[in-house]
Amino acid sequence: MRRLVNSGCRFLLVATSFLALSLPASAADSLTVVTFGGAFENAVNKAYFEPFTAKTGTSIVREQYDGGLAKLRGMVESGNTTWDLVDLESNDAIVGCDEGLLQKLDPKLLGDVSDFIPGAVLPCAVASMVWSTVYAYDTSRLKTAPTTMADFFDLAKFPGKRGLRKSPKGALEWALIADGVPTADVYRVLGTPEGLDRAFKKLSAIKSEIVWWEAGSQAPQLLADGAVAMTMAYNGRIRVAQLEDKRPFSIVWDGQVYDYEWWGIPKGAKKADAARTLVEYASSPDNIWKLSNYIPYAPPRKSAVSKVDKAVLPHLPTAPDNFKNALQINSEFWSDNFDGINNRFMSWLAQ
């Protein structure tokens, strides 16, 4: 018994010291910014955070998350918001604002709002960049180059595995585009039962060859490992693999599904004022273009495009050659229909 108690005490001691270590370090004048991490975090750090710290003396604590509003909602409901600025996907930026998890953003911070591309300023969030879901292939493995979305679904012409994100979002839009639906009509068709059937039918044709991934970093890895012949991927990840890992990857821009990424300040953020200053800094015409030099995501301001490094321009989703047949994700559509379609998607997966 005594031995048990002794070792119990020792365990408690060790456990509490670990607990102390795991508590977040918080300095008085630091700002906690949460992003999806990876290449994007490195890019925003170099483009905005480091110069911002140099200029204002406010140090920035970087944290990572996988998207979704669950953590934010938990913090706001418990009245202890430890995040000051959050990198958000469209859906979360809209819903987070509707549900009062984000603070209203004063458009005055952003200067000339008409300089932003349409839809890039929301009541609670401002777009930080435009990113895109595209498909990519390894040029050293495919003899003929695919060029269209239909090629991605053509197993006869381009045999081999296909990587897709395990979500109906994106995959169903692509299936319809490949089946000949013009990008302008995709969501109208997808909103009808027949259209949904049509998308699933198209997807079923390549189902046996699909490798499903969940984290964005898996896509370039699958391609590098030769596990797939082509894969859905975020354009920035592929560019980084091309540049840093010298991979012979190529992107097919046809049918790209693009979306904005957002900055939002959580309700109850302790350093809300400093967070607003950072948003103002990162969104200003003088700075917003800098991100594109580190990662090929496009700036959401019209005046910024001309300032981006000329060598980077052709790799941006919004470059004219890449933007010919592009579709913006319809977050309203997915907010309404995700549950039902995702259930159908999961039962379709398990068949």
Partner: protein
């Protein structure tokens, strides 16, 4: 000696027992005080959140909070085929505008969207258009804004959602819903997800448990019968992976099993196959990964029991004429039942909640229930449904506990 009174004798005979009881009480109190911090910790971080999650599976206050007046009026409405009275329309219009000012509308709209895709936009759109209405009574105005308000089914769903407590999350988690005639019916086939996911979770857990038993039992036997020096060395091979992070081991398998990974390269080099074999992104990958992660539990549970079994019983059986195999099966194996039971119980219950390994190594049809809980929790913000799925998972785990208790006897389970 002669001076001892009866009273003193009395004291001498009862004193030790009373003292013993007092000592026991002190000991119990001491143990309790020592455990208090842990109990408080468990209460705060384990029992309270789980209780709250369970409560969440039947709570649905979003709609009532947003439109309390309408909810009260709808409670008296008998339901389709007739529409509610014009008074209810008026109340709803007023409630909606107030809810938008209070910021309670979005949560209600999200909740209603669980019942019918598009209900969310219906609510938001209606509120947007209300201020610019023409002065018609709302019973005509609302259906003009959107024709769904003229459909009694819309109002039925609104009534269903506008209650503080609801069985609907628990029904959805079993792929059931309440039909317009109040009967409980299965959901449409394309929408049925959760029953299959539970069955899949059980079959994967069962398979992992059996594979662990088949692989782990002989190893445990070897460890228990070898001389101490050799068995200690072997034990390190069991324990080191046990200490390694789950994520590290899972990603290690990811590297080994991928199409151009180590295993496939060896298979192709040895001429066994020409095409890379599909070792991951399917059920096989999940079973390999989970078995490897959980095997130490099975080995250690059995080893602990086997080490305490004296070899003399088996020897006695053999000396009485039993074949060694018979002696093993009929004398040795029954004595290891507590180990087998502990190992199987541990492995099975741990498998039920598995998350990372099936997500990384599994394919399309290998989604386990905890992955679906995470989806509802993190992505869909549907904590009610996540709670309901967790309730079933806990109930099934308790059921497994009861079965094991019946078959093996939990009091005989031991870990060392």
């Amino acid at each position: 000696m002669n001076g001892i009174s009866p009273q003193q004798v009395q004291i001498r005979t009862t004193d030790p027992r009373a003292g013993y009881r007092a000592a026991r009480r002190r000991e119990a109190l001491r143990a309790f005080i020592l455990a208090v911090p842990l109990l408080v910790f468990l209460l705060a971080t384990f029992i309270y959140p789980i209780g709250k999650l369970f409560l969440m599976s039947v709570q649905s206050g979003e709609v009532v909070n947003a439109i309390p007046g309408t909810a009260t009026l709808l409670a008296d409405w008998p339901g389709p085929p007739d529409l509610p009275s014009p008074q209810v329309f008026d109340r709803l219009a007023a409630d909606l505008q107030k809810a938008q000012q209070d910021g309670t509308l979005a949560a209600a709209a999200r909740r209603l969207n669980n019942y019918e895709p598009g209900f969310r936009t219906l609510m938001l759109k209606t509120v947007r258009q209300l201020p610019s209405t023409s002065g018609l009574p709302y019973s005509e105005e609302l259906p003009r804004i959107d024709k769904r308000w003229g459909d009694a089914e819309t109002w039925r769903l609104l009534k269903r959602a506008a209650t503080r407590y609801t069985p609907d999350f628990l029904l959805t988690a079993m792929d059931r819903e309440v039909a317009p005639d109040q009967s409980i019916v299965p959901v449409e086939k394309t929408q049925a997800v959760y029953v299959d996911a539970f069955l899949r979770t059980f079959s994967i857990s069962g398979a992992v448990t059996l594979i662990c038993l088949i692989l782990g039992y002989p190893v445990a036997f070897l460890l228990a019968t070898l001389p101490a020096r050799k068995s200690n060395l072997l034990l390190i091979f069991v324990i080191v992976p046990f200490w390694t992070s789950l994520l590290v081991r899972t990603t290690a398998w990811y590297v080994l099993l991928q199409p151009n990974g180590v295993v496939n390269s060896l298979l192709i080099a040895s001429g066994l196959t020409t095409e890379p074999a599909a070792l991951m992104f399917n059920r096989l990958g999940v079973l390999i990964g989970m078995t490897h992660v959980l095997l130490p539990f099975m080995i250690l549970a059995n080893y602990a029991v086997m080490r305490g079994i004296p070899p003399v019983y088996q020897r006695a059986a053999v000396s009485l004429g039993a074949h060694p195999a018979v002696a093993f099966l009929r004398v040795y194996v029954p004595q290891t039942m507590p180990g087998i039971g502990t190992g199987m119980f541990l492995v099975f219950v741990l498998s039920l909640g598995y998350y990372i390994t099936p997500a990384l190594l599994g394919g399309a049809g290998d989604e386990m229930i905890s992955q679906l809980v995470a989806l509802q929790m993190e992505r869909q913000l549907n904590w009610g449904l996540a709670g309901a799925l967790s309730v079933y998972l806990v109930i099934f785990t308790l059921a497994v506990y009861a079965v094991f208790n019946r078959l093996v006897g939990i009091d005989r389970l031991r870990l060392g």
